[in-house]
Symmetry: C2
């Protein structure tokens, strides 16, 4: 499959079949994330794969607040993405240039995960809205941030058309 | 090409041939970026493509500080990634959950760009270290952040082996 087809196929899948996800497929998605680039090759991430059904339901419940992410209560797998300390070079750069490279890095790694899932015929949804304290308590994550959760499963819905701004709206040449 | 091969092929390319990059290839990379997911579909990005040789040299010079990114002075194309305001939903979420979704989003879009370039046989380098004020002045970018620059060209070097932590170091199951 061409990359563009893969990009079209990757979408926020919020409904999954009851089929469990094979462990080797989860590992394949993690492998894509593992190879992601990061500022100064810091790799400031850890991935906690949750696939014990009771624990998945609890973590999913923590994502289902204020009417958001209700679907997360019934998903086969959730991966919690933990922000780890960058290496010294990246930390110094982040301070001097006043930008948090590690969030840029995590975005890249998470998207590798999701594109790999799409290639395997799996569906994902990246969630930024959840009760972070509760998730950290459930998974034993101490003094670290959890910027994102990813749900993973066999999608039960069809591929939707993407709604995006046009290139005219987001691209300019040699001048802003 | 399988996604994993593409991921292996994408690397920080710091040396390019003198061959210019065809405009339709640049547009193809931008198309991959355009279709990237973002929090609340905010698409908080603009891409300024710099391909006028004199201007590229000036922007590249702004990236070559303190002995870093010297190669950027001689590249065919530089794309400046501008952080735009998120939509209201994403902004509220960012404040309540105390995380800057837009940086995660920009990471994803930039990686789409780079993976698409790799598929086309082009090379990229994502740069987070540069004189942002100077870049903004050169391109007429007002009161906005420029978190990243991307260089683009026909790579002159070979594909290197990736150095990454092992899965054992970055993955755990059902517990941090």
């Amino acid at each position: 499959m061409k990359l563009l087809e893969l990009i079209q196929k990757r979408q926020s899948d919020r409904k999954y079949t009851s089929q469990p996800v094979a462990e080797d497929q989860i590992v394949a998605c993690l492998e894509a994330a593992r190879l992601a680039p990061s500022a100064c090759n810091s790799q400031p991430w850890k991935f906690v794969v949750v696939n014990q059904p009771e624990l998945v339901a609890q973590v999913g419940e923590a994502a289902a607040g204020l009417g958001m992410n209700k679907f997360a209560r019934e998903v086969p797998v959730i991966v919690a993405v933990v922000l780890e300390k960058m290496n010294l070079t990246a930390r110094i750069g982040s301070v001097i240039k006043d930008k948090e490279y590690s969030l840029l890095d995590v975005g890249i790694a998470v998207e590798h995960f999701c594109l790999q899932a799409a290639e395997l015929g799996l569906g994902t949804c990246i969630m930024g809205w959840f009760d972070e304290k509760k998730v950290k308590r459930l998974l034993g994550i101490g003094n670290r941030r959890v910027p994102l959760l990813i749900t993973l499963g066999h999608p039960a819905g069809a591929t939707r058309e993407k709604v995006r701004k046009s290139q005219d709206e987001i691209v300019s040449w040699n001048k802003y």
